[in-house]
């Protein structure tokens, strides 16, 4: 029985509010949150290291699986970096097709977010309706790319599949239906009184704090930070499309909802423009297997914010270093700031409002040596032998396991 009314509850790693594991440990006084501690790293899979042992073509599929919802974002960002190092000029038709898939992905991601936000505040009806409508986009994507997520549309030098003229009317009719439904959801979001009560005034993030803490994407745009990589640093076909960047000055979760539904309407306009102006031409250029030495940084506006990939090539057919900075890593620091002195009941919706994708986020680890209070960095061979020794102390010997499972590139 706690003596005072302060107690610490763990939100995560396993919690119904979170779709992916992270640990937010919250100190409560009654129903008010007094402080919060964030620990990341539960979803670390060693993707950046695994990229160094595979060729560029294999890496494309590996990086696509960093996240399920924004898979095309990561794949395109990586491929753009590699093409910049290799000096390849991608054809216009390929750029347009990449942009088409990117906008369709943004539509499906924002509809998914609407449903998740509804579920977090107990409004399951909104979840069911938005996810039912999202099936329209998923069917279009399955028809175009062959799969509902993890599209595999990119290849180094262009795209793998073409958009035929029979598919275009189907895409347009799906977009028409979705536009009607999105207008209905805008009405619901602005007029349903319980939704307004739960979303307004919650998760307040002022403009200066957003800039100072480095928030990106719709989280920042709802605090009137006017940044969008599609307009500021155009890539793919965005330089030739006309669209508005939606910002809002509500500074809270309600503002983020408005920004995302606004972006949905803009995406529908963009898809129509793309399909109307689709240029003729080849869909891919021939790419070399060995990429010459060089490095490139590529930025992309994923549905959650700004996604940054850094690729360093050294002349062989495997990259030397790949680094991924996902948008949720920039946004997760804002959560602790937004939840100060708020109620416990606001916690799920505030975490959901940054649209967390913790699979994208977990990249770097910092290991602290025993008895050493300062944090340092280890080199790869040191970490390798440290981990083998640690497991040996626990009674697990990797040499035996390797013989049993015949793992390629096994730890010895």
């Amino acid at each position: 029985m706690p003596e005072s009314s302060n107690f610490r509850i763990p939100i995560g790693p396993q919690h119904p509010a979170l779709k992916e594991p992270e640990c937010f440990s919250i100190v409560l006084k009654g129903e008010k949150i007094t402080s919060m501690n964030v620990r990341l790293g539960y979803n670390h899979r060693g993707i950046e290291k695994a990229c160094e042992e595979r060729t560029y073509i294999q890496d494309m599929y590996l990086i696509e699986r960093v996240c399920g919802i924004c898979s095309h974002s990561h794949a395109t960002c990586f491929v753009q970096a590699v093409e910049e190092i290799a000096g390849l000029e991608v054809s216009k038709r390929a750029q347009y097709i990449r942009t088409l898939i990117a906008e369709l992905e943004r539509i499906h991601s924002h509809l998914l977010w609407l449903g998740v936000a509804g579920h977090e505040i107990g409004f399951d009806t909104l979840l069911m309706y938005t996810w039912r409508d999202r099936e329209g986009v998923m069917d279009v994507l399955a028809m175009l790319t062959g799969n509902r997520v993890n599209y595999g549309m990119n290849t180094i030098g262009g795209v793998r599949r073409d958009v035929t003229s029979e598919q275009i009317p189907q895409i347009l009719s799906a977009i028409d239906i979705l536009e009607e439904r999105t207008k209905y959801y805008i009405q619901i979001a602005t007029e349903e009184v319980t939704l307004r009560e739960r979303l307004s005034g919650v998760g307040v993030l002022l403009h200066d704090d957003a800039v100072h803490l480095g928030a990106v994407g719709p989280t920042a745009r709802a605090s009137a930070v006017d940044r969008d990589i599609r307009r500021d640093d155009p890539y793919a076909a965005y330089g030739e499309l006309s669209f508005n960047v939606i910002t809002d000055n509500h500074n809270d979760v309600y503002g983020r909802t408005l920004v995302r539904v606004g972006e949905l309407m803009e995406s529908y306009k963009m898809v129509r423009q793309i399909l109307k102006n689709l240029p003729e031409g080849p869909i891919a250029v021939k790419a070399p297997r060995k990429i010459p030495a060089g490095e490139a940084l590529s930025r992309y506006e994923a549905p959650r914010g700004e996604d940054v990939h850094y690729v360093k090539a050294n002349g062989t057919d495997k990259p030397e270093r790949v680094k991924i900075r996902a948008p949720t890593l920039a946004n997760v620091q804002v959560v602790a700031h937004m939840l100060k002195d708020r109620y416990l009941a606001d916690m799920p919706i505030v975490i959901a409002a940054i649209d967390p994708c913790f699979s994208c986020t977990d990249r770097a680890i910092s290991v602290r040596e025993q008895g050493n209070s300062t944090a340092g960095t280890m080199s790869w061979p040191t970490l390798h032998s440290y981990s083998i020794d640690w497991y040996r102390k626990q009674g697990i010997d990797f040499a035996e396991l390797n013989k049993k499972f015949k793992i390629r590139g096994a730890l010895k």
């Binding site: 029985m1 107690f7 610490r8 509850i9 763990p10 919690h15 119904p16 509010a17 409560l28 129903e31 509804g118 579920h119 977090e120 505040i121 107990g122 409004f123 399951d124 009806t125 909104l126 069911m128 309706y129 039912r132 349903e192 319980t194 939704l195 009560e197 739960r198 109620y343 416990l344 009941a345 606001d346 916690m347 799920p348």
Partner: protein, 313 residues
Amino acid sequence: MAIALFNILIFPGFLFIGVFGMLVEYIDRKLYAMLQNRVGPPWYQPLADFIKLVAKEDIVPEQADARVFTLMPVVALTGTVTAFFCIPLWGTKALFSFNGDLVVVLYLMTIPTMTYFLGGWYSRSVFSMIGAARSITQLFAYEIPLFLCVLAPAMLANTWSLSEMAVYYNSHPWFGLFNIAGFVIALVALLGKLEKVPFDIPEAETEIVAGTFTEYSGRLLALFRMCIDVEMVVGASLLAAVFLPFGVHYGPAIGFGLYLVKVLFVVALLSVLRTIFARLRIDQMISFCWKYMAPAAFLQLLADLIIKGIHAP
């Protein structure tokens, strides 16, 4: 003696109310699904859930107080089933009716809420304790409107017995219309009692896992869920008996059939209300109940007083 045993165990005792509770849960879930454009569960789903839970192991946490922990589901189910005995089931007669049984029913309906609080608090798990505290806090909000709206028609009918009220409203059918506002308020307050959206704050799945029921499993959880079903039946029956008092003089068989129809109607209304709202925060709920529902309930009481004064000087 045999009749008493029959009444307790079969009708309207455990067997009937168990089956009726499962039927009501099925109708609620199926209607909820159809309103959301889904298929919904098959008719045997509540029975399957019950059997599955009974077949699993009940785990009592080490830190919890084992006696209170295991006793609470039994107490909860007992309270609600006992409350059912005073509801007029066939026409104007109930199993036990006496002057004051309305108050007894309301009192017995508060027992499950107390067991949610005690069971959650003595589970000693952080999520359960928060859920338990919320359960009691919510009690302060919805209780006054619910009681006032249910007692106002009783006052108009000059009696505290549900069965007598049924007789009275049958002979003065137009007076039932004056209680429509009370019906609406009582319906919303009943959502709070039954802990359904928008007032399912003690059991908010995305915030505190399962509130009071986080540490419960196996047979204890089966009993708690049975208690939730029976609570819905008793709550809907109470509202049907107080606010929908027509057609009770046709005799026992038709009266029973009409009772079933009325209860299912109230349950359908509750399902629709559950679908169209989001969950409120506890502070928003308290301010809503005290700012809007309690004054409205007072006005309903006042209206009934005035009508009583006019009608029977």
